[in-house]
């Protein structure tokens, strides 16, 4: 059985925090892709968590990673020009 709780609320939390990300000298679109790959790798290596029967990867972690990247691309701000 698929547990929707961590997926839904992982996406919500990720969207909340990802909307506050902004580009800097060391943080560009290409580095965002690399970070996403790293996050997905970490989520897969973490194993099935918090429920141990639905998927072989950590659903909450990967949902949060997807939402962080997506909300950065949708809502994220530009570089600080001050």
């Amino acid at each position: 059985m698929i547990n929707l709780g961590p997926i839904i609320f992982g996406l919500v939390f990720g969207f909340v925090i990802g909307s506050r990300l902004r580009y800097t000298e060391y943080f560009t679109n290409s580095s965002l892709i690399v970070m996403f790959i790293i996050l997905v790798l970490v989520g897969c290596l973490e194993g099935a968590f918090p429920y141990y029967t639905d998927f072989s990867f950590s659903t909450g972690f990967i949902a949060a990673a997807i939402a962080l990247v997506l909300s950065k691309l949708i809502f994220g701000r530009k570089r600080n020009t001050n």
């Binding site: 939390f13 506050r20 060391y26 970490v42 968590f49």
Partner: protein, 163 residues
């Protein structure tokens, strides 16, 4: 305040590490009702990730930037949401913070139970929602403290330069 003394290696490492901390914190919050962890611990982990970025990049150049309105809004959502869930328990169950999502004593209408039932197999009711609200409040609150301290530091440095 911009932190120009930090080395570029540290700056390149800080953001990926903080994103991993943030995702792990979210995971800790979401598994809080069945595994060790919960709202406070997960919120502190998320705040740790954001604080790492603030310390390495400085207040002005941090890639994760929480505005005053954002902090105020999520502190309020966390606190008010907790109270509202408690009051819903008081209204339907007769006691403050009654678990209307699980309804052990079968005193809550079934449509209300269905609304507050967390979608997983553990039948945890409203406990995960409390974890989420506490997590929101803690991550924003702990980060706000560090932002204030960094602001005070930059003010005192400006004063010293003037003197």
């Amino acid at each position: 305040m911009t932190n120009k003394k930090t080395s570029p290696i540290l700056k390149m490492f800080a953001l990926p590490a903080s994103l991993i901390f943030i995702c792990a914190g979210i995971l800790t919050i979401l598994g809080g009702h069945i595994t060790p962890g919960g709202g406070f611990q997960g919120g502190a982990m998320i705040a740790g990730g954001i604080i790492l970025c603030l310390l390495v990049f400085g207040l002005d150049d941090s890639p994760i930037n929480l505005s005053e309105n954002f902090i105020t809004a999520f502190e309020s959502i966390g606190a008010l949401g907790y109270i509202v869930l408690g009051l819903i328990g008081l209204y339907f169950g007769g006691s403050f913070l009654y678990n209307v999502g699980t309804d052990f004593y079968s005193i809550v209408p079934s449509n209300i139970v269905n609304i507050f039932h967390y979608p997983d197999v553990t039948n945890a009711g409203i406990v995960p929602y409390f974890n989420i609200l506490v997590g929101l409040k803690v991550f924003v609150g702990l980060t706000a403290i560090v932002i204030v301290f960094l602001g005070f530091k930059s003010l005192s440095e400006e004063k010293e330069e003037e003197e």
